[in-house]
C-alpha cells in the first residue's frame, strides 16, 4: 500500500482512471478500423460508410445502454432480442390500427418495459437468478411476438418512423439557417442522434443520480448495499424495467428500419448486446461497465460486420473474429484489474 503521500488521487485522478478504463475498448476500435482500412476497399474509410456503420450500431447500441445497467448491477439479460422483436410487432400492429407514430412508438417501448418488468419481478420476488429468468423470457417474449403477429410479418405503414433509420434523412423540417450550414458529416440518421442523446442521459443517470449509485453498489457488494439501507429489490426492478424500455425503443427503430413488424427479427441479438457491454469494459461479476464503453463496443461490432461485408470476407470469419475479440477484451481487462489490485 502506498504510504501517506500528499499528492494522492483526487478528482483529476478519478477522471484519469475513467479515461484509462475506456482506453482499451477505444484502442480496440482503432485497431479494427485500421485493419479494415488497410484490407477493405476504399469505400470503407469514407464519411458515408461511417454513417452507415453508425446507423447499424443503433439497435444494439440502444439495447446495450439498458444492458449496461443490468450488468453493472451484477445481473444479466438474455431476453433482449425477443423484447426487440415483441416491441417491433407491437409497434407495427399499432401503426396498422392507425394509432399514429407517437402512440405506436410509446406502445412499443411499453412492450419492452413489460418484458423488463416480468424479468425484474421474477428476479426480485422469487429470488431467481437473472440468467434463468431471462432465459425463460427469451423464449416467452419471442413466443408472444409470434402470437401477436400471427406467426408472420406484420405489414404496416411505417410513416414517420421510417426516416429514423435513414442515412439520408429529409432535412426539410429543420430551420433554414441550420439546414444550410449543417456540415455533411453531421447529417446522420435521426436514430443515431436518438442513441447519442439516450447514451448521454444514461451516463448522467449512472453517474450523478442516486439510482446510478445504487445500481453500482448492488453489483459491487449486494449485502453491504442492503445493510446501508439501499432498497435493493426496488432498485433491481427499476433496472430491469429501464433496460426493457431501452430494448423496446430499439424494437421501435427496428420496425422503422424493416418497415414491417417481424416476430423473428433480432434473433440472437442479446449476445451482441452483452458482447458490446463486455467489450466496453464491463465485468459480468458486476460493479463495472460504462455507457461510453458499451457504445464503443457496439460501434466496434458494427464496424467489424461492415468491414467484413465490404472486403468480401465470409460471414463465418466475422463470427470467429467477434468471438476472438470478446475473449481478448475480457482477458485484457482481467489482466489490467489484477495489475491494479497488486
Amino acid at each position: 500500500m502506498e504510504a501517506e503521500d500528499p499528492t494522492t488521487p483526487g478528482r483529476s485522478a478519478a477522471a484519469a482512471r475513467q479515461v484509462a478504463d475506456i482506453l482499451g475498448p477505444f484502442l480496440g476500435l482503432i485497431v479494427v478500423v485500421a485493419l479494415f482500412g488497410a484490407v477493405a476497399p476504399e469505400g470503407f474509410l469514407s464519411v458515408f460508410n461511417a454513417k452507415t456503420i453508425a446507423t447499424q450500431t443503433v439497435i444494439v447500441g440502444l439495447a446495450a445502454i439498458g444492458a449496461t445497467f443490468i450488468i453493472r448491477s451484477g445481473g444479466i439479460d438474455l431476453s433482449v432480442g425477443s423484447a426487440i422483436a415483441l416491441a417491433s410487432v407491437v409497434t407495427a400492429l399499432a401503426m396498422k390500427a392507425g394509432l399514429g407514430e407517437v402512440p405506436s412508438a410509446l406502445l412499443g417501448v411499453l412492450a419492452g418495459a413489460a418484458v423488463g418488468a416480468v424479468n425484474g419481478g421474477l428476479v426480485t420476488l422469487l429470488k431467481l437468478p437473472p440468467f434463468i429468468v431471462t432465459l425463460g423470457t427469451l423464449g416467452a417474449a419471442r413466443g408472444a411476438a409470434k402470437w401477436l403477429a400471427d406467426e408472420q410479418k406484420v405489414d404496416a405503414p411505417s410513416g414517420g418512423l421510417k426516416p429514423f433509420m435513414s442515412k439520408n434523412p429529409d432535412l426539410s423540417g429543420l430551420p433554414g439557417f441550420i439546414r444550410e450550414n449543417l456540415p455533411d458529416w453531421l447529417v446522420l440518421a435521426p436514430g443515431v442522434w436518438l442513441m447519442g442523446l439516450a447514451a448521454l442521459a444514461a451516463a448522467f443517470l449512472l453517474r450523478r443520480t442516486v439510482f446510478g449509485t445504487w445500481t453500482t453498489a448492488i453489483g459491487s457488494n449486494e449485502p453491504t448495499a442492503r445493510l446501508c439501507g439501499v432498497p435493493v429489490e426496488r432498485t433491481k426492478f427499476a433496472i430491469y424495467v429501464f433496460a426493457g424500455a431501452m430494448a423496446g425503443l430499439a424494437g421501435v427503430l427496428q420496425f422503422g428500419r424493416l418497415t414491417v413488424g417481424d416476430p423473428t427479427t433480432a434473433m440472437g441479438k442479446e449476445l451482441d448486446v452483452i458482447a458490446a457491454v463486455v467489450i466496453g469494459g464491463a465485468s459480468l461479476s458486476g460493479g463495472t461497465g460504462t455507457i461510453l464503453g458499451a457504445m464503443i463496443g457496439a460501434f466496434l461490432m458494427a464496424t467489424l460486420a461492415n468491414g467484413c461485408n465490404l472486403s468480401g470476407v465470409p460471414n463465418f470469419v466475422q463470427e470467429i473474429l467477434v468471438g476472438a475479440i470478446i475473449v481478448s477484451a475480457v482477458t485484457l481487462d482481467g489482466f489490467r484489474s489484477r495489475q491494479r489490485a497488486s
Partner: protein, 507 residues
C-alpha cells in the same frame, strides 16, 4: 492522552450492559454479561475464541436481540430491533470483513443508502464537506473523498469505515479484531486515529485477543469466558499475566484418549515458510508416529501456513523436505501422490462434498485406483472401498450410500479423514478438525487420531482450542502474528504459557 486516564464525568456511563443472556438452541452463548463503558474511553473486550464476544457485539449492533438482560446508552434504555435502529442511536460496527462497495468512491460509500438528492440527482456537497472535515480531523492523507475504494489497502478501507461512522455521528464505535489484517504501520495509524476518536468523546469498544495491543490502546477492560463476565479492571493497573489467567480459567474438562506412542524420525521438514501475507516465518519438523499441535488465535496465520505449504496459496519463500528429499513447487495433486493429506477448516466447502454419498466422498481422492479394466468406476467398487471405514470409524450411517449431508458434523469429519486415509496419506495436516462438532464426536476424533499416531502416521493438528491440544498432542508450537515458535513437548506447556505466547504476553 495516556492510556488509562479516563475522563470520569458525572452521569450515567455511555454504554451499560446488565445481565445479558443469549441461547442458540441448547447452547448458552451468553450466560450473564455485564459491561460498562464510559464516554471517551477505549474499552477492551477480552476473551478466547468462543467466549461470546461476537454474540455480545451482535446484540449491541442490533443484529440479534438478547434473551434477557438490559442495555442503556447514556442512561436511556437501548433495545434495538434492527442494525438500522442501533445506528440511529449512535452505534457503529467495524467488522473484520469490511462492509464497503469496492467499485464506489469513498464519498459514495460513506453516503450510501442515505444520499441527499433533488429529483434523483445526488446533492453531495454537504456530505463532501463533512467527510473532508472528518478526514482532516483523522489526519487522513492517503485518500480523498473521490478515491475509489478498490484501490485502497485494508488499513485505508478501515479508515473509510471509521469515517463513515463519524459522518453518521456515531458515539459508540465497535472494532472487531481491528488489527488482524493490518500491517505494522497501519496498526500504528489506527492507534493514533483511535486516540483522536476518544479525545473527541467517542466511546470505542475494542475486541481483541492481542494483549500487547490492549495494553497500548485500552483504558479499561472486561473479560468474557464461557459467555460470562469474569473480570474487569483498569488496563494500566493489571498485568498481562493477570489478564491471561482470567481469560484461561476453565470449567469444562474433557477426556483425551492417549496410548503410548513411539515417535520416529522426522518425515516432513519445513524451513522459513512464508506466504503472501501470512505466515511470515514458520519452521517445524513433523515426526512419524506423533501428533504435533499448532496453537494460535484466529488470524495468527495458522490456516495460511497449511494452505501455502500445501500449494493452495502462493508460497513466497521456504524450503520443504519430505523424508529427506526436497519438494519443489508443492501443489495439492503432488502432495496427494506423496501421501500427504490436508483437511480444511471449512468442512462444508472443502472437507466433504455434501450432496455425494459416503462412498463417493471416501473414494474421491483415490478414485483412479478403483477403475476397472475399461476405466469405469462402479458404485460397487466405491462402496466396497468405503465399507471398512464405516465400521472402523463407527460412522453412524445405515449404509455408505447415504449422502454426507444427512450426517452429523462429527460423522462428516470422520468421512473427510477417511478420504485422506483411503488415498494412502500417512502424513495428515488437520486444520481445526473438531470445529463445530459436539463433545461426544470430538472424543471419537481424538481417539481416531491417537490410533493413527500409534500406527505410525504423522499428524499436524491446528487448533484454537488449547485443552484439546494439551490433551492429544505430543509436541505443541505456538503461532503469533505469522511467526511459528519452536515446538516443545506438551509437558513443558501450561495453559497460561501457551495463551501468553499466542497473545503476545510474556512467555
Amino acid at each position: 492522552m495516556k492510556a488509562g486516564a479516563v475522563l470520569r464525568r458525572q452521569g450515567p456511563p455511555r454504554l451499560q450492559i446488565k445481565g445479558v443472556t443469549k441461547r442458540f438452541g441448547g447452547v448458552h452463548a451468553l450466560r450473564g454479561v455485564d459491561l460498562e463503558a464510559e464516554v471517551g474511553e477505549v474499552h477492551a473486550l477480552l476473551g478466547e475464541n468462543g467466549a461470546g464476544k461476537s454474540t455480545l457485539m451482535k446484540i449491541v449492533a442490533g443484529a440479534q436481540p438478547p434473551d434477557s438482560g438490559e442495555l442503556w446508552i447514556d442512561g436511556v434504555p437501548f433495545a434495538p430491533s434492527s442494525p438500522r435502529e442501533a445506528r440511529e442511536r449512535g452505534v457503529a460496527m467495524i467488522y473484520q470483513e469490511l462492509n464497503l462497495c469496492p467499485h464506489l468512491s469513498v464519498l459514495e460509500n460513506v453516503t450510501l443508502g442515505r444520499e441527499t438528492s433533488r429529483f434523483g440527482v445526488k446533492q453531495l456537497d454537504a456530505a463532501r464537506g463533512r467527510l473532508g472535515q472528518v478526514l482532516t480531523d483523522l489526519e487522513v492523507t492517503s485518500f480523498r473523498a473521490d478515491t475509489l475504494v478498490s484501490g485502497l489497502g485494508p488499513g485505508d478501507r478501515q479508515l473509510v469505515e471509521i469515517a463513515r461512522a463519524l459522518c453518521l455521528d456515531a458515539t459508540i464505535i465497535v472494532f472487531d479484531e481491528p488489527t488482524s489484517s493490518l500491517s505494522a504501520p497501519d496498526v500504528e495509524r489506527l492507534f493514533r486515529v483511535t486516540r483522536r476518536l476518544v479525545d473527541g468523546g467517542v466511546t470505542v469498544l475494542w475486541i481483541s485477543h492481542f494483549l500487547d495491543e490492549v495494553k497500548a490502546i485500552g483504558n479499561r477492560f472486561t473479560v468474557l469466558r464461557d459467555g460470562e463476565t469474569v473480570g474487569r479492571g483498569d488496563v494500566l493497573q493489571t498485568s498481562t499475566d493477570e489478564m491471561v489467567t482470567t481469560m484461561a480459567g476453565r470449567s469444562v474438562s474433557e477426556a483425551y484418549p492417549r496410548s503410548a506412542r513411539n515417535p520416529g524420525a522426522a518425515v516432513l521438514s519445513v524451513k522459513g515458510l512464508a506466504g503472501a501475507s501470512a505466515p511470515r516465518d514458520a519452521s517445524f519438523e513433523l515426526r512419524a508416529g506423533e501428533v504435533m499441535g499448532v496453537f494460535g488465535l484466529v488470524g495468527a496465520g495458522r490456516t495460511e501456513m497449511l494452505r501455502s505449504l500445501y500449494g493452495l496459496d502462493p508460497m513466497v519463500s521456504g524450503e520443504v523436505e519430505l523424508r529427506g528429499a526436497p519438494v519443489q513447487r508443492p501443489r495439492p495433486s503432488r502432495w496427494v501422490e506423496l501421501g500427504v493429506g490436508l483437511l480444511s477448516e471449512d468442512r462444508a466447502r472443502e472437507g466433504v462434498a455434501l450432496e455425494l454419498s459416503i462412498a463417493d466422498n471416501v473414494t474421491l481422492s483415490s478414485v483412479r485406483r478403483l477403475a476397472n479394466r475399461v476405466g469405469a468406476v462402479t458404485r460397487r467398487a466405491r462402496e466396497a472401498a468405503a465399507e471398512p471405514w464405516r465400521e472402523r470409524l463407527s460412522l453412524r450411517a445405515s449404509s455408505t450410500r447415504q449422502p454426507v449431508r444427512d450426517l452429523s458434523g462429527g460423522n462428516q469429519q470422520k468421512v473427510a479423514i477417511a478420504r485422506l486415509m483411503e488415498c494412502g496419506a500417512d502424513i495428515l495436516l488437520l486444520d481445526e478438525p473438531t470445529r463445530g462438532i459436539d463433545v461426544g464426536a470430538r472424543v471419537e476424533v481424538y481417539r481416531l487420531l491417537d490410533q493413527l499416531a500409534v500406527e505410525g502416521k504423522a499428524i499436524l493438528m491446528v487448533s484454537s482450542h488449547l485443552p484439546e491440544l494439551l490433551g492429544t498432542c505430543d509436541r505443541i508450537a505456538v503461532m503469533y502474528r505469522g511467526v511459528l515458535g519452536a515446538a516443545r513437548p506438551r509437558e513443558e506447556w501450561t495453559e497460561d504459557a501457551a495463551l501468553a505466547a499466542a497473545t503476545g504476553g510474556t512467555s
